[in-house]
Amino acid sequence: MDHPTPASRLVNDTHCANLRHKGMYVTATPDSREHDFYDAYDATVYWCTQTQKPLGPDGRPVHADHCKGGRGCCEH
């Protein structure tokens, strides 16, 4: 048995290895027509595997925009 790692359009190699969101664990298919019915929006909730919370080890909120190079607690 192999052990897949989460994949995501929002979290990739440039992001911290500890950043997670639900979409990484749900094997969804992109809803290609979604934006015919509403504009882009972001309801993604992130968490850090090291704290298991929406806050990183440094106490700041985690997000794909923040959890990448330059943030001290990031791991790659």
């Binding site: 094997t27 298919t29 809803d31 929006y41 309801a43 993604t44 992130y46 106490g59 909120p61």
Partner: protein, 728 residues
């Protein structure tokens, strides 16, 4: 440890493109019929063991010490007295001195003891010294210019602005304009089974019985947090009592439980109580929208301009789709996520959609009133074109007929007396495509069949779907199939969320069962003198397609295997599932204008989900989703003290949930679309209910409520405002 691989993403079409090798049966025996849940008897008799029920030899009970303050600095943690308390086998600090705690209920320390009572007593003996800091307790406070900057990157996170068309031209073309502010509340998940787990170590290997929506995802989460190989973690979830999007990781309590078990050298049971659930295991964020919208004299939407914001507490995730479904050609929107000192949001049943649906659909009724059009007629003029994944133009008339929409009166029930009746409508959309699941099937020489898949049944009926598809494919009774799920030792399947499970799992089961049957046919064919391709399985027999007598019973066929069972692996393939669902709901309410109490008496839901696998559990999903929406509309509300930021209703007494007498008559009208393949259904029915109820209350009372939940005080306040001439 095997080499890690990424799960590839694939696009799903709105209509399955066909998969000849594994096509769904055209004349099914079970699929699409009412099949009772195979685990129903186990659940009602108590034989089904939830994580809460797990008992292990020498098991201890864990308890977490949590911050009573929404914002505080930890000065010191003293575990000395707790460690000396009777029965205590482990105690640990979760945070270090000087840590800043950002929400009430944040984990500070933990203990494990021989009994639950001893663990509670010991937790009270943990001495934590806090320096209490002023919290941000509301979005208004957090957004005010003079608010303290509590979050290092600022209290507000600006989203990208969206703009389409020519807004000025849109408003110029408008004959009427609505300018209003709408809002929805923070809703907690209130899973009947609380979050938690039992953790047991065997050397460096961890077994965890977890109330989770993702056995494989939680395995990965334990491994990542504990810095151990995934192969050393096994996660088991035989039964779980609801998660609604909040249970995809081990969470803090899972990691704490594993660490307590390690320290104690014994299994630890750590399930949260209701207060902890409300405080620390997620919520649906609030939503606010200040909107200016225009409509032409002939009822066409012309312009939409919105500033929106909301809070997911101490985290992001408060975005929502707006406008929802209806076509405003000229529109602009700017969104902000606001941080406050409260438990963070988590995904919750159609994240963002109930908020966007409520706001848009209430606005739509306001615009319809201005142009004096029936709400359904007004919507029909402004819907997107009909398509397989967008069928509102077909469903509004179906719902109207089922509901008796033609009996709707204009806004404001003119009949005498304090009890007013009203109708309301709304629409929803969701994706619901799945992929990526694997399965393993064994056909045993004694005729037994085992189907294993590392999915989990979160209360939706997944275990039953696996049995149905296997039995259908092998031509066997449903109870002849041994379905084994809920264990990370089984073949990979994704988490159960986003309405993806049915579309992810059932194609994998179909492919795997067909492969297993093909292997059996290959064994039997020479004995029957029939080519394998001409053999079919039905009614417990394997026989020639055109000569039923030329065959043998299933057991006789399996006996030909000798001592070697058939064992095959299979995985999801395209062509058996799709993405994109649409639905319409209509609600009838009864409002007592003297008490302000609203009661939903009737609700019709017209909903598609592609090919229906089990009609009974699909209808059950609809009913559950509607009840979810009724609670969102009328009852649920996380209330924070505006001064202290502490939650004032972290229980099920004052955090209101509807009871049996609040359940309306629900008509679940499922539209079967076999040509599309399987699509998920968990989320869609929960989206539109609150909006339909809100519009029904306005139709009944003549006053518009733009804020959820629509509690009696809000109804009375709106009626009083109307009497004072304050509302339109």
């Amino acid at each position: 440890m095997a080499e890690a691989r990424q799960v590839p993403e694939v696009a799903a079409p709105a209509v399955a493109q066909g998969n000849a090798a594994y096509a769904w049966p055209t004349h099914p025996t079970y699929m699409g019929t009412d099949v009772q849940r195979i685990d129903g008897p186990d659940k009602v008799t108590g034989r089904a063991k939830y994580s809460y029920d797990i008992q292990r030899p020498n098991m201890l009970y864990g308890r977490i010490v949590r911050s009573p303050h929404p914002r505080a600095r930890v000065v010191a943690i003293d575990l000395t007295m707790a460690r000396q308390a009777p029965g205590v086998k482990a105690a640990l600090a979760v945070v270090e001195p000087n840590a800043i705690l950002m929400f009430q209920g944040e984990e500070v320390a933990a203990v494990a003891a021989a009994t639950e009572e001893q663990a509670r007593d010991a937790a009270r003996l943990v001495k934590v010294q806090y320096e209490v800091l002023p919290p941000l307790t509301s979005v208004e406070q957090a957004m005010s210019p003079d608010a303290p900057k509590v979050f290092p990157d600022g209290n507000v996170r600006e989203g990208a602005a969206e703009e389409t068309g020519d807004l000025a031209a849109g408003f110029k073309a408008a004959a009427h304009v609505v300018e209003q502010t709408y809002n929805t509340q923070v809703q907690t998940h209130v899973s009947l089974e609380t979050h938690g787990c039992v953790c047991e170590w065997d050397g460096d290997k961890l077994t965890a019985w977890v109330s989770t929506q993702a056995v494989h995802g939680t395995r990965e989460g334990f491994a990542q947090a504990l810095k151990i190989p995934q192969a050393n973690v096994r996660v088991i979830t035989q039964y779980m009592g609801g998660g609604f999007g909040s249970k995809f990781a081990p969470d803090a309590q899972g990691i704490i439980c594993a660490n307590l078990a390690k320290q104690a050298g014994a299994p630890v049971h750590l399930m949260l109580d209701r207060k902890e659930e409300h405080l620390a295991t997620g919520n649906r964020p609030s939503a606010y929208a200040k909107i200016r919208a225009g409509v032409s004299a002939d009822g066409m939407l012309t312009a939409f301009d919105a500033q929106t914001w909301g809070t997911g507490g101490a985290g992001v995730g408060a975005g929502f789709p707006l406008p929802y479904i209806y076509q405003f050609p000229n529109r602009r929107r700017q969104h902000k996520d606001v941080y406050i000192n409260a438990g963070g949001a988590r995904a919750m049943r159609a994240p963002g959609h109930p908020q966007g649906c409520f706001i848009t659909e209430v606005l739509m009724d306001e615009l319809a009133d201005l142009v004096k059009l029936d709400p359904v007629d007004f919507r029909m003029k402004n819907l997107p074109p009909d398509a397989p994944d967008a069928r509102w133009r077909a469903y509004f008339p179906i719902a109207a007929k089922l509901f008796g929409w033609d009996k709707r009166h204009p806004t404001g029930d003119a009949t005498p007396g304090p009890i007013k009746h009203g109708f309301g409508c709304s629409a929803n959309r969701w994706g619901g495509g799945g992929r990526g699941s694997h399965a393993h099937c064994e056909i045993l020489p004694d005729g037994g069949v085992i189907m294993r898949c590392g999915t989990q049944d979160i209360g939706t009926g997944t275990r039953t779907l696996v049995s149905i598809v296997t039995a259908e494919t092998l031509g066997l009774p449903i109870d002849a199939v041994n379905t084994e799920i809920g264990d990370s030792l089984y073949p990979f399947s994704g988490g159960s969320g986003g309405s993806t499970t049915a579309a992810s799992v059932t194609p994998a089961i179909r492919v795997t069962a067909v492969k297993a049957l093909d292997a059996l046919k290959a064994k039997v064919a020479p004995k029957l003198g029939v080519p394998p391709a001409d053999l079919v399985a039905s009614d417990g027999r394997l026989h020639a397609r055109n000569d039923r007598a030329k065959g043998m019973t299933w057991k006789e066929a399996c006996r030909t295997l000798g001592a070697e069972p058939i064992a095959v692996d299979g995985e999801w393939q395209p062509g058996l599932s799709a993405s994109g669902t649409s639905g319409v709901q209509m609600a009838e309410v009864e409002v007592d204008t003297e008490t302000g109490v609203s009661k939903v008496t009737r609700l019709v839901c017209v909903q598609d989900c592609g090919l229906i696998v089990d009609k009974l559990t699909a209808e059950s999903q609809v009913i559950g989703g509607v009840l979810f929406g009724v609670n969102y509309a009328l009852f649920e509300d996380r209330i924070l003290d505006r001064n202290t930021g502490q939650m004032v209703n972290p229980n099920m007494e004052w955090y209101l949930i509807g009871g049996p007498s609040d359940v309306p008559e629900i008509t679940a009208h499922l539209v079967d679309q076999p040509e599309r393949g399987v699509i998920g259904l968990g989320e869609p029915p929960a989206v539109a209910t609150a909006a339909a109820i809100a519009n029904a209350i306005a139709n009944a009372t003549g006053v518009r409520l733009r804020s959820l939940p629509m509690t009696p005080d809000k109804v009375l306040a709106a009626l009083e405002q109307q009497r004072a001439g304050g509302t339109r």
